[in-house]
Symmetry: C2
Subunit: 199 residues, 2 copies
């Protein structure tokens, strides 16, 4: 159980709608007086169990076309830079392992935003170690130390367990905001989740 005034932000680096949520979350939560806990997980295993071998936005092109236009509108309205990536979805495993290992670090929110920006504003391949290393170095971090801990067996297992936990609590997409027993799915539910947590 969460304490009051706390929201869990369950996100996947490949997830389009998680991008504007991640960009706005810290400021919005701060205004609402709510603390954010970062919960990276992987959608791949959850989608696979529903019989999907790809993003539903690729499997269902009409829905995908809507999503890309919707992303443009959302990011434009919020003044968030957005450029449709030349590849989608990009594998966020390495980036997620780092977020999982260092979820409590003060630099974590800035790291999360920077990875999302790399993918959805700068069209960089975030599955590549040198791209992630560049993000870490821009934050003034020593990337080799971070990779070592992120790639340790126990951390790989921790991310796997977190993904299983996501499924257990009923998460089926990203972003999902969790406040106690309540789930709020979608970037457009961020405010509702924060208001619920703050009440």
């Amino acid at each position: 159980m969460l304490r009051r005034k706390e929201v869990e932000f369950w996100f996947e680096f490949a997830s389009t709608y998680s991008y504007p949520a991640a960009m706005l979350l810290e400021d919005t939560a701060s205004t609402a007086g709510v603390r954010v806990t970062y919960k990276p997980f992987l959608l791949g295993p959850i989608f696979a169990r529903q019989g999907w071998s790809d993003s539903p936005f690729n499997l269902y092109p009409t829905k995908g076309a809507y999503m890309w236009r919707d992303m443009e509108r959302i990011c434009s309205a919020q003044s968030i830079p957005f450029s449709r990536p030349s590849a989608f979805p990009r594998n966020g495993l390495l980036a997620a392992r780092i977020a999982c290992a260092f979820a409590e670090e003060p630099w974590l929110p800035a790291y999360v935003r920077a990875i999302y920006r790399a993918n959805f504003a700068q069209d960089q391949d975030i599955s590549q170690r040198d791209v992630v290393a560049g993000v870490l170095q821009d934050l003034g971090l020593i990337s080799e130390d971070i990779f070592e801990r992120a790639l340790a067996v126990e951390n790989k297992e921790a991310l796997r367990a977190q993904t299983e936990r996501a499924e257990q609590i009923g998460i089926f997409g990203a972003p999902t905001f969790v406040v106690g027993q309540e789930l709020f799915w979608g970037s457009d539910r961020m405010l509702q989740a924060l208001e619920f947590a703050a009440a």
Copy 2:
């Protein structure tokens, strides 16, 4: 092309999220100074073309569980009566044929709301002719005359064509609000669509 200050409301009577949208639409659009055009269609043929023989909320139970809880919250927050129907989805074909035939009638918005209430607040089987007749009679209408026009070959064809049109313009779920070339999917996008139309 639509004129400015107009929104098309594409809805399906079996669709859960279309219910709160339908209940709030007239008042919200009136406040925004936007005219609503009612566009009933059927999700069944659109889902079937994606390989689904049932509602995705039934095919993907985790998503379905979230949706039912979300409906409770949305309706509670808006003071809309809601009771999870004992059967889902209910076949809205007859009700949609009537909405298609009489889309321009002044009683149409009240009829749409009453059919949704029957399904999602009163747990009535809206696929049944006597249930729909009861709704029409409560509105002071002569149901036999209405059924005759709704069940005419040309009106059946009109609803079929409207469903095909939905697919052509990129609709994949309900409710969808259409303003010119822009689609807004989901009850939670109603305000955004109205603001876009009013701008």
